[in-house]
Subunit: 117 residues, 2 copies
Amino acid sequence: MRPAHHPEVGEFTLTGVMAALSDPIRVGVVRVLADGRERGWGDLLAPVAKSTLSHHLRVLRDAGLTRTRQEGTRCFVTLRRQELQVRFPGLLEAVLAAAEDEDVGHQVGVKDAVPPT
Amino acid sequence: MRPAHHPEVGEFTLTGVMAALSDPIRVGVVRVLADGRERGWGDLLAPVAKSTLSHHLRVLRDAGLTRTRQEGTRCFVTLRRQELQVRFPGLLEAVLAAAEDEDVGHQVGVKDAVPPT
DNA sequence: TTCGATGTTCGTGAAACATCGAACAAGCTA
DNA sequence: TAGCTTGTTCGATGTTTCACGAACATCGAA
């Protein structure tokens, strides 16, 4: 596993981001990451094969939406929220709000969900 | 030419809109329409065959981004800006701003450009 | 070193998409 | 009516995307 390429903020493209967010699974992943917490790859729950999830995470990464960090044999993902805000002000917020409203990507979850009160 | 279907505001989907805006030509069309003026189909200038442009306009229409009005044998297109704002607050503004910034869809123009001073 | 866990990559289909030119439909105009 | 204009639709083509399982690479643990 070579160390995955991440585009610089200046390399983000609008159409790239739009394309990345045109799939419900990927929107779901973004929603899961929206609280700013880093998540383990394996903690993501999506109704697709792991190779498919890997593909989706790659698309998100290539578009600049997420950052993947490697630690030993495990991976951790975060949303590049700050950088996106700089490059595309307001875009992510608008998308997240709409996604909540429509419940897009509800099929994506995370292990260790809401810790009980 | 049957009278083209337009989705209701409630039928818009986030992923549909994102997909529609993931193509530079279509973003270009949206930009051209962003001033709120209605434009004639034939006044749109894009570096693609007319059948291709027709396809793109259909995608935009189906996603709810534009409205097409027919008058005799000619068509006029407008951006459904108000309705988009209601359904996806802030989204279109953010996209338009980013598109300007990046000059996405610059290859799309309109006849009868800026009227000289 | 051997095994298990974790992701990525590969090979492969099926489906969707962008594109074109040709054919078509419908309405003006001569 | 004949012809022109304006878009849409059709069929073909090549590309991209999504999906899967299998194989692989890497690391940590036994």
